[in-house]
């Protein structure tokens, strides 16, 4: 059976997942919180990678769905008094509907135009969210004051939800590596005109992965909102989140299943370790690290194995 044949990377990932499921039993609150942050970034960066790394469409507005997920989850919990997980699932549906409507026209833009268009869209979404309550009279985002959620039921729930999301995103990327859908996306990413001439319905495929990626980002945003118990539009629609996703993917390895989690791990730990030692200057050090990785490992952290193998064989990569 083809789909049961696992490569060494996939077996290692499954073993790691098993260890991570047991990790809270052996770790303290701080380690669990840090791991949750890493999973969150792995899920976000991984979702961005599904579209950019496979279909070659550089989306600079994924944060829209992070914000939509957070506010929709909060509204369903506060106004409809639904349980967290039910609200989260429904908020994902809201994000998918918006992504379908937004993706249909914007995904027809190519290259830099798509990137600029989505960046503008995200900024507009932020302004709209800030003004929503005042404009519509429907309380949803709380304007610049934001929305407070009830204090949540301990940190273990968030550890496991974020772990599930990161695993789901990674599994989706692995599936893209061997499925018909994934080959279609890669064809679009490498040469969209030729893909179209070879029978690939490029708009439909791109929209599918865009909507799927929006769903995963919205779930992550909804979980993060409840976890932090306070959300406001400036933070949850902020372009900084988008750029952090992009940097993590580029550091880890664009278009690879394990690149985004590696990038998330590396950058989160670097910020945590350097941030506690050099409170005022750690951002400079992180900048230097990012430049160094992109100079010496152009394929990202996930490409290091290949890089070393080709060095040993005496071939320039």
């Amino acid at each position: 059976m083809r789909f049961l044949s696992l490569g060494p990377g996939e077996v290692a990932a499954l073993l790691l997942l098993l260890l991570l499921l047991l990790f809270p039993a052996a770790a303290g609150a701080y380690q669990i919180r840090l791991a949750t942050v890493i999973f969150m970034w792995a899920a976000l960066a991984g979702s961005w990678n599904l579209l950019a790394g496979y279909a070659g469409a550089v989306d600079l507005g994924p944060v829209v769905y992070y914000g939509v997920g957070a506010f929709a989850t909060a509204a369903l919990m506060l106004r409809a008094h639904l349980p967290f997980l039910v609200s989260l699932v429904l908020a994902g549906g809201v994000a998918m509907v918006i992504a379908y409507a937004v993706g249909t026209p914007t995904l027809r833009l190519r290259g830099a135009y798509f990137a600029i268009g989505t960046l503008a869209l995200a900024e507009s979404a932020k302004q709209l969210a800030l003004a929503w309550d005042r404009l519509t009279g429907i309380p949803l985002t709380g304007g610049s004051a934001g929305v407070s959620l009830p204090l949540s039921a301990g940190y273990l729930l968030f550890y496991y939800v974020m772990l599930a999301l990161a695993s789901l995103v990674t599994a989706a990327a692995l599936w893209l590596g061997r499925s018909k859908f994934g080959y279609g996306l890669r064809a679009i990413g490498e040469n969209d005109r030729l893909a179209e001439a070879s029978g690939v319905n490029i708009h439909r495929l791109k929209r599918r992965v865009y909507v799927g990626s929006a769903l995963l980002i919205a779930w992550t945003g909804g979980t993060a909102g409840y976890w932090l118990s306070y959300i406001n539009a400036s933070d949850f629609f902020g372009a900084g989140l988008t750029f952090q996703m992009v940097v993590m993917v580029l550091l880890g390895g664009l278009g690879t299943p394990f690149g985004p989690p590696l990038g998330a791990l590396f950058l989160t730990l670097a910020a945590e370790i350097l941030g506690t030692r050099f409170v005022y200057h750690y951002l400079i050090a992180i900048g230097v690290l990012i430049v160094a990785v992109s100079l010496f490992m152009p394929a990202g952290l996930a490409g290091v194995g290949r890089l070393l193998r080709s060095r040993r064989a005496g071939v320039q990569p």
């Binding site: 083809r2 499925s179 018909k180 080959y183 279609g184 890669r186 064809a187 490498e190 040469n191 005109r193 030729l194 893909a195 179209e196 001439a197 070879s198 029978g199 690939v200 319905n201 490029i202």
Partner: protein
């Protein structure tokens, strides 16, 4: 009934008429050569038929049904596809994967059969030993053969080949002519844009000559090449 029919097909870019009321019919299993000077509208004709551009007027019929207005991918799945004047490929995919994708989406095959068929088509065009290489490492003649394998894998019945022999040496051209005859024997109908007259004379059942967007001659290759209008517009006096 002809497999492909073009009626009064016209394309204007602003005030420039790139293709002016061209009619043509392609019979099933036929090889139709398209010749004419640069800028005569040959590639525009192909782009209109394959759905890369929309006609300003006129229509294209495939097996009797109008197809103008369909997108390129829909036209391909229906049964018409083209190669590109500058051979196109998926650079970082393997040679096999380039053909494999066309089978998956053009033909609608599932993973197993598409892989097997891709191997068969690579064998057919003589690229089997390059199957695992990255497509971007291929030489120009190899890229042309890969492009041919790709359009064959889509299972399209009408293939539009845009200068598939340009840049090949004499021996490679002869091999290419033989290969295209075999393609026809496998149930494909071909339209071939080519500047190499010897190849067209060898290969085509009929030839259509375009000049400034208009059809100026059509017929058997030997007759067309003696046509004074064709000699004046394209071949030049020295050819006779």
């Amino acid at each position: 009934m002809s497999i492909l029919e073009v009626r009064a097909l016209t394309k204007s870019f602003g005030s420039l008429v790139a293709l002016d009321r061209v009619d043509l019919k392609l019979a099933e299993g036929e090889i139709l050569g398209i010749i004419g000077p640069n800028g005569a509208g040959k590639s525009t004709l192909f782009n209109l038929i394959a759905g890369l551009e929309r006609p300003s007027a006129g229509a294209v019929y495939y097996r009797g049904a109008a197809i103008s207005g369909l997108t390129t991918d829909a036209v391909c799945r229906l049964g018409i596809t083209k190669t590109f004047q500058i051979p196109q490929l998926f650079p970082r995919m393997s040679v096999l994967e380039n053909v494999f994708v066309a089978g998956l989406y053009g033909k609608g095959a599932s993973l197993g059969p598409a892989r097997y068929q891709a191997e068969t088509w690579l064998e057919f065009v003589g690229l089997a030993d390059k199957a695992a290489a990255a497509a971007e490492t291929l030489s120009l003649p190899e890229r042309r053969r890969l492009d041919l394998a790709r359009v064959l894998a889509t299972d399209a019945r009408v293939l539009l080949l845009d200068e598939n022999m340009a840049g090949l040496n004499q021996r490679e051209v002869a091999a290419s002519v033989a290969l295209l005859r075999q393609v026809r024997d496998r149930g494909r109908s071909l339209m071939v844009i080519e500047h190499i007259m010897r190849a067209i004379a060898d290969l085509a059942d009929r030839v259509l000559v375009l000049n400034y967007g208009e059809k100026i001659a059509e017929g058997r290759p030997r007759d067309v090449m003696r046509d004074p209008a064709v000699i004046k517009a394209y071949l030049g006096e020295a050819y006779t």
